[in-house]
């Protein structure tokens, strides 16, 4: 069965993809869809429970939570995509280098990765964030720079076995340079593992961004992000449950969608799981 057919029959992948598509539409149409300005404060209508006018209620400054979550989706997706872009760039480059060159270069790179993996990622990120200004650009950079190790290992392992294949020797025999062999003959084989890791990576990058914003080290108020809405919600949990519940659900469903899609893609793209 072809790839598309297998994808359609994989319920998880399909659910994930649909939810992600809806999320992207909502995020890009946030300006049109949002019933209120996410930054406009209306002290007269603060901490209102969900109603027709304020679908998901209002926060302590009277801002519309639904509008803020919509705009927060932009932040989350932007961070997810950019951080993962950076992760893929570094991870693939490092993995290709280590796997193809082998020898002491490989050993040095792999030990460096082992060392980096010893630090719990969140502490590594907090440490870096302590030195730079907490804003969305730095958050993206830091997440990207601290998450590439797993992918690099994966790529390196694949390259180690691919470079021994006869078609690599054959390509060298035709006078292809090492760079050409890597990019033209080896990289295309890595498309599916990279795609799967990238998709799963988006979910975890969004989660990390929310955590940082929750701790006040990520996106700074008044700019809305799911994490910093949650921070507010924490203070009013006993009187305004909607302030915690809805951004929490937004994070939950988004991360779950990316994980469903990522795991679904892994099953669809891996020839070993075919029936």
């Amino acid at each position: 069965m072809n790839l598309f057919g297998r994808f359609r029959r994989n319920r998880g992948a399909l659910t994930g993809a649909t939810l992600i598509l809806l999320l992207f539409i909502a995020a890009s149409a946030a300006k049109i869809m949002a019933p209120h300005d996410p930054l406009r404060q209306e002290v007269t209508s603060r901490l209102q429970s969900p109603s027709v006018d304020h679908l998901l209620g209002t926060d302590d400054l009277g801002r519309d939570v639904f509008s803020r979550i919509l705009f927060g989706a932009r932040v989350s997706l932007e961070v997810g995509v950019v951080a993962v872009g950076l992760m893929v760039l570094i991870g693939v480059a490092v993995g290709l280098t280590a796997g193809y060159l082998g020898g002491w270069v490989d050993t040095a790179i792999m030990r460096l990765i082992d060392a980096l993996l010893c630090f719990p990622t969140i502490f590594l990120i907090l440490m870096v964030i302590a030195f730079v200004e907490p804003d969305i650009k730095n958050v993206m950079a830091v997440i990207g720079l601290t998450s590439w190790m797993g992918l690099a290992r994966l790529v390196r392992g694949e390259v180690l076995s691919l470079r021994e294949r006869d078609f690599v020797l054959s390509a060298r025999g035709l006078g292809l340079s090492h760079a050409r062999v890597l990019l033209v003959h080896i990289l295309p084989h890595l498309a599916s593992p990279i795609l799967v890791s990238a998709t799963l990576g988006v979910g975890s990058a969004i989660l990390t961004e929310s955590a940082l914003s929750f701790l006040g080290l990520g996106v700074q108020p008044p700019q809305p992000s799911w994490g910093n809405i949650l921070t507010l919600g924490k203070d009013y949990m006993h009187i305004a449950w909607w302030l915690s519940l809805f951004p929490g659900l937004a994070i939950l469903f988004t991360v779950m969608s990316f994980n469903l899609l990522g795991e679904g893609l892994r099953d669809v793209l891996d020839p070993r799981t075919q029936e």
Binding site: R165, D166, F167, L169, S170, A171, R172, G173, L174, G175, L176, S177, R180, V184, H185, P188, H189
Partner: protein
Amino acid sequence: MSDLLTIRSLSVHYRRRDGDVKAVRSVSLDVRAGETLGLAGESGCGKSTLAMAIPRLLPQPPAEYAGGKIVFEGRDLISLSSEELRQIRGAGIGVVFQDPFSALNPVLTVGEQIKEAFSAHVRPCPPGTVEDLLSRVRLPDAVRIARGYPHQLSGGQRQRAVIALAIALGPRLLIADEPTTALDVTLQGGILDLLDGLKKEMGLGVLLVSHNIGLLSERADRLAVMYAGEIVEVGPAGQVLAGAFHPYTRGLLASLPRLSAGRGKLPTLAGQPPDLRNPPEGCAFRARCPRAIPACGVSPSLGAKEGGRSVACHNP
């Protein structure tokens, strides 16, 4: 006929912890333009190492050039920089690999792989070139095959595609390492006919490596027999076949099944080839040789005989 490739005293070793394997030991060999040189020998005699050592396609380490020269069109390949060598690979020397199932990249179409060879050498590949090449290796329906992936081709078609890749850039020397071993016997003749045809059309020098001395004696103009990393006999294929000088060559030829010989056991060579980590003093074949004499304790050199033949034996 001029010498296209001249190998002189070439030695290639594989570095190993328990001692270097001396896979190719002081080999001298010539391949001329427009001829097929057959390189025969049993498994492990170093013939593939020799073939892959020419375009320096052996992984280094563990392989290591321990001496000698490989002169291709006047340039010593061993002393070239990797960039100079890259320019010769494909454009000057084409290689046909043993296993057509793994020599093509499964994720690229046949056409893409051929085009890639052209762009690696910064050569234009005008529309139609790929199809033209595929028809030259007698692949029917070249347009469909150019767009197809390797898994859509049969074994014989793949080997033809591999040959198309090898000749794409108009090399003068073609190295074919057991090009038919992985194929059905019924397809072997077709592939060898194709190599013959290309040799005549393009004036190629062909180094045809095989463990099958019967096949080589039909297809090669000259025959070189390798044993334990050394060339033991070289000569025009017909003459070697009619009257081999070296006892090893005679043993190989005698062990070929013949229709006329009737039933019965085939003659075999007693014993095992020597361990190439510690090759014996003197003639490597001495221990298995029916004609060994005390002089065989000293290594025989490849001595010239009449009719362009030579043999490395004290008591032929």
